[in-house]
Symmetry: C2
Subunit: 292 residues, 2 copies
């Protein structure tokens, strides 16, 4: 059996009992270490599972799937994935490959940011499509995400914005010299994300994202304990101006609040507001939450 096992959001204890049993029974255990970043070390996971883990980068999962799937028709092989196997980035390719090889597969689900985002108090059924925001460079500022945000905003839906992670980046010099030396991972911060949103707005000028009248909520390490999980709510301008420490450790996500927001969603999230009075005022005036 080929198991694809969601690890959930925080650490080794977020795996399910079923997932842990599958890990314990597997001959080989791979950890997919690209799409999201586990908050704990490989060593800690190995100690918890009492067995070695093979770290599989995205390349390996995509190009060497037959290696991973080897003998999975005769013994159990587990691929561990941060979050849920069908979360923001999916693992459909390797499941399709297993299917083609006649290898039975079982997916063990877990929380991912796609549902745990509900922790901010906004209702999941009021979310529209999810978008990803990549790091802008001097010469490359892809803004197609803006069209999707616009679609959500026009319908009054909330938008979950997933922020870019750069892993296995090479410096220009190392790239030129063909040296496989990688830079440390980079995570987009909330202020960077907001400044990119506002940069796109400034160039598109369609009035979708307004510094002082668009409400948003930043999340990090959702599901962690109170020293880890950070949720910060405010106008885009307020979020832009907070020191990065306020947002805690990466990974970060951002939610743009839609106009159909219910006053109870606003009240729940108010607890996380940078400035509660401003949060409430903007919700009342610009989001028509007259019950507040």
């Amino acid at each position: 059996m080929f198991y694809v096992i969601g690890l959930g959001l925080c650490d080794e204890k977020d795996i399910s009992i079923r997932g842990l049993e599958a890990v314990k029974g597997a001959s080989r255990v791979y950890l997919e270490a690209y799409t999201s970043i586990l908050m704990i070390s490989q060593e800690r996971l190995e100690a918890f599972y009492e067995k070695p883990i093979i770290v599989a980068d995205r390349d390996m999962v995509e190009t060497q799937s037959d290696e991973i799937l080897k003998d999975a028709d005769k013994e159990d092989v587990a691929l561990l994935v941060v979050g849920d196997p069908f979360g923001a980035t999916t693992h459909t390719d390797i499941v399709l490959r297993a299917r083609a090889l006649g290898i039975p597969t079982r997916v063990i689900h877990n929380a991912s940011i796609m549902n745990a985002v509900g922790a901010c108090g906004l209702q999941l059924y009021n979310f529209g499509q999810t978008v990803s925001l990549v790091f802008f460079t001097e010469t490359w500022k892809p803004d197609s995400y803006y069209d999707r945000v616009k679609e959500n905003v026009k319908l009054g839906m909330h938008t979950l914005v997933l922020l870019d992670i750069k892993v296995k980046e090479q410096s220009e010099e190392n790239l030129a010299r063909g040296r496989k030396i990688y830079e440390p991972p980079r995570y987009m911060s909330i202020p960077t994300a907001v400044s990119q949103l506002l940069e796109t707005e400034a160039s598109r000028q369609e009035g979708i994202l307004e510094p002082e009248t668009t409400l948003a909520i930043a999340l990090s390490r959702v599901g962690g304990d109170s020293s880890q999980q950070k949720i910060v709510a405010g106008t885009l301008k307020e979020l832009l101006n907070q020191p990065v420490e306020v947002y805690g450790e990466p990974l970060h996500s951002l939610v743009i609040v839609g106009k159909r927001v219910h006053h109870l969603e606003i009240e729940y999230a108010e607890d996380y507001a940078v400035d509660k009075a401003s949060w409430r005022r903007v919700a009342k005036d610009m989001y028509k939450c007259t019950e507040l």
Copy 2:
């Protein structure tokens, strides 16, 4: 500490290690048994946890939250929720109440249908808002969900449709006589759901849901083993005409496929199609999946 713990989708083994530890350490354990239905019995859960569980219906969670929260500032109390605590129905009220009482709260996330729906092969970031479909009666056929489906369809987004559950219904006679005797739970089946969708379409006539050219995917017991999890794909008409057994045991959910669907999503889901040739043909002709 007040713990709100997601149990995940299937049975006692879907709880996380962290969740199980919190249950083991709690003085009182409540199980919220309204919004979704666990696939296993209370007794089996109690045996697994080695402690008694207090079943809390929706009424109790809403009106007697102070009873549940009693002493949670001094000892640990756990509220178990099927799926994720912030899934389709949220538990924000009781968390707000805990906040007001100064009781620290920790949410332990898990999979819910809102993210596990990715198991059908459709990408989560291509989903628009989620809708709920309630049982129609002779005189009450609420169709406001149709407007939301229409918004998603017009943007080409997929729609997750959550199907109604009736628990604690009273017969007219028992209701009239004030007898608290409840009917067995009722779950909406996929054919019933599809026939209601088509009934609304027939009355609204906006061409949003077409029997022969709208593709949809039915899911039940997502995350269960191969004897439990059922995923069935087809046109609305095909799904309407399958015998109910094809769809397995409740709970069921339905996804209406949006026009922005990628050919890889179609290929992945084809494995679940009632009629693979028809699935592919409709995707090619009506969904412009020309790469197929």
